[in-house]
């Protein structure tokens, strides 16, 4: 609509992603899958990627791609091991080349480890750090290398957890890795902001797919009963925020972590 600010998108068209080129790392898991489909519904062409070379995971990603294709979006499946920065960079370059640019990058690796700190091995610690924290950095860095070439900049969205802000027993490695993602998000926002790249994070609470809570049924799960909304969230409740953060209308939000958690943290 036209008003004193000119012709601005103030209604539902503010979330229109038609013509945008998106890449979702971790589309084989529930959050990444829901976000990939929502971006597609909002009009974006979405390339979907695994975060490992596990065949079952790649097949799950492939099924998301089929749904996107059915919607009429351009979509391809790629596989990458997110723990290897060079591989991620090459993959992102190829995707950006195929689509002549990259506007939206979603980093949604999620490797949970429920284990007493004193029993956590070096190998386990490194794997959790490498997947969640380094993996997110690999995705951000590779995306920025493409977005920095564009006048239009881009949108990077990291999917993390309330456990990056608040702690829980028996998940020290995971808590530390996700806390790293939060300040990584802020640091990259300050660094790439002048080049029109925004970097934000969505922190999910207890979701019905969370490995951290097990059975999400409130009747069986004391953790879920402590959520003010008395229920676990769903991946579909994360996806609309990703669409908003990915949109052109969201150019003045950066370096923020937004909590979708049913009131669990009452953050900020």
């Amino acid at each position: 609509m036209k008003n004193e600010w000119g012709d601005v998108r103030l209604g539902i068209d503010a979330y229109d992603l038609s013509g945008k080129r998106a890449l979702v790392l971790g589309a084989g898991a529930p959050a990444g899958r829901a976000i990939a489909l929502a971006l597609g519904e909002a009009g974006a062409d979405v390339t979907v990627s695994s975060i490992s070379n596990d065949g079952d995971e790649i097949m799950r990603v492939k099924r998301v791609q089929q749904e996107l294709t059915k919607m009429g979006r351009k979509s391809t499946t790629v596989a990458t091991d997110i723990t290897l920065g060079a591989g991620v960079q090459v993959m992102v370059r190829q995707v950006a080349k195929a689509f002549d640019g990259l506007d939206i990058m979603i980093n949604a690796p999620d490797l949970f480890l429920g284990k007493a700190a004193e029993s956590t091995t070096d190998v386990e610690w490194n794997k959790v750090m490498q997947t969640n924290l380094a993996g997110t950095f690999h995705g951000c860095r590779a995306a920025a290398k493409e977005m920095l070439k564009q006048e239009s900049g881009g949108r990077i969205i990291n999917v993390t957890s309330v456990l990056g802000e608040r702690a829980i027993a028996n998940a020290a490695a995971y808590c530390a890795a996700q806390a790293g993602v939060l300040n990584l998000t802020r640091a990259l926002a300050t660094e790439w902001g002048p080049r029109k790249i925004t970097v934000n994070a969505i922190a999910a609470g207890w979701m019905d797919y969370s490995a951290a809570i097990g059975n999400p049924d409130p009747a069986a799960n004391q953790t879920v009963r402590f959520v003010p909304m008395k229920r676990a969230g769903t991946a579909d409740e994360i996806a609309p925020l990703a669409v908003y953060l990915a949109s052109d209308s969201c150019g003045y939000i950066s370096g923020q972590v937004m909590f979708v958690d049913g009131g669990l943290t009452t953050h900020l």
């Binding site: 103030l10 539902i12 929502a38 790439w192 969201c250 003045y252």
Partner: protein, 271 residues
């Protein structure tokens, strides 16, 4: 379908401070997304303009002159929404005044009236509106969304008007507490925390230079535009944020993410 969940068709919203600046843009945005809007502010001519602009979009709106420092007028405002449209779904408490009376004074020169008025207009108003709105929403039985406007000044030092930062910190605190109190009625309560956002496009060269100078210190390299709060307000008002409550959403061009200095300076490691 994700865009369907952002729509506000059939919802009724109240926006305070809807006559100009951020409130006006958010009122227009909620209407664009499908809501009927009760526009409130002290200055009748300004809310009449917002009302007619909404009607020009093909949506329903009414204007109600309201001084949000007066709880009776906040009650009447909520009643007006019910009288006009039969219900209330969205309460957006935006009214506030950025400059405390006695701004830039020495601390000992801020008098009791300045202090109380700043808290009344910026903090008590949010409580009065939420109290009146939540009672109606709970009785309706289908929940609702309350959105308060805080400020980045609540998160860092704000020497120009220290009462304002305190009031807005209070808004963040009541947002959290009210979210926990109202969750059983399916009422979600969140707040928007704007950083430096221009209320209107710069009207002259001096304003333009001021905006550019201020903006340089933010990662976004510019100040925000009032209209940019519109899509955020729609998100928080709509079913798209069904699992979001008790949260603050900062829209500040990345200023607080850096925030090594209170304002006006964004350090970087030389490379």
């Amino acid at each position: 379908m994700v865009l369907e969940r952002l729509k506000l068709d059939g919802k009724v919203a109240i926006v305070t401070g809807a006559g100009r600046g951020l409130g006006r843009q958010m009122a227009l945005a909620l209407a664009e997304a499908g809501a009927d809007v009760v526009c409130a502010a002290r200055t009748a001519s300004q809310i009449d303009r917002t009302k007619s602009d909404i009607e020009a979009l093909g949506h329903r709106a009414v204007a109600q002159s309201t001084d949000v420092r007066d709880s009776g007028q906040c009650d009447a405002l909520v009643q007006r929404a019910v009288d006009e449209y039969g219900k209330l779904d969205i309460m957006l408490s935006n009214a506030g005044i950025g400059d405390m009376r006695g701004a830039n004074a020495e601390l000992w020169d801020v008098n009791d009236d300045d202090w109380h008025d700043t808290l009344d207009v910026n903090l008590s108003s949010a409580f009065y509106c939420a109290r009146a709105a939540s009672k109606v929403m709970a009785a309706q039985g289908h929940g609702g969304a309350i959105i308060n406007l805080a400020s980045g000044t609540a998160m860092r030092a704000y020497p120009m008007s220290f009462g304002y930062g305190a009031a807005k910190a209070g808004v963040i605190a009541i947002t959290k507490s009210m979210s926990a109190m109202l969750v059983r009625h399916n009422i979600r309560v969140n707040c928007i925390i704007p950083g430096f956002v221009m209320q209107a496009p710069p009207g002259n060269e001096q304003a333009e230079i001021f905006a550019q100078t201020r903006g340089r210190y933010l990662p976004a390299q510019r100040l925000g535009y009032a209209w940019e709060l519109g899509p955020l307000a729609i998100f928080l008002a709509s079913d798209a944020s069904s699992y979001v409550t008790g949260q603050g959403f900062v829209i500040d061009g990345g200023g607080l993410a850096g925030g090594l200095a209170p304002m006006g300076f964004a350090p970087e490691v030389p490379v």
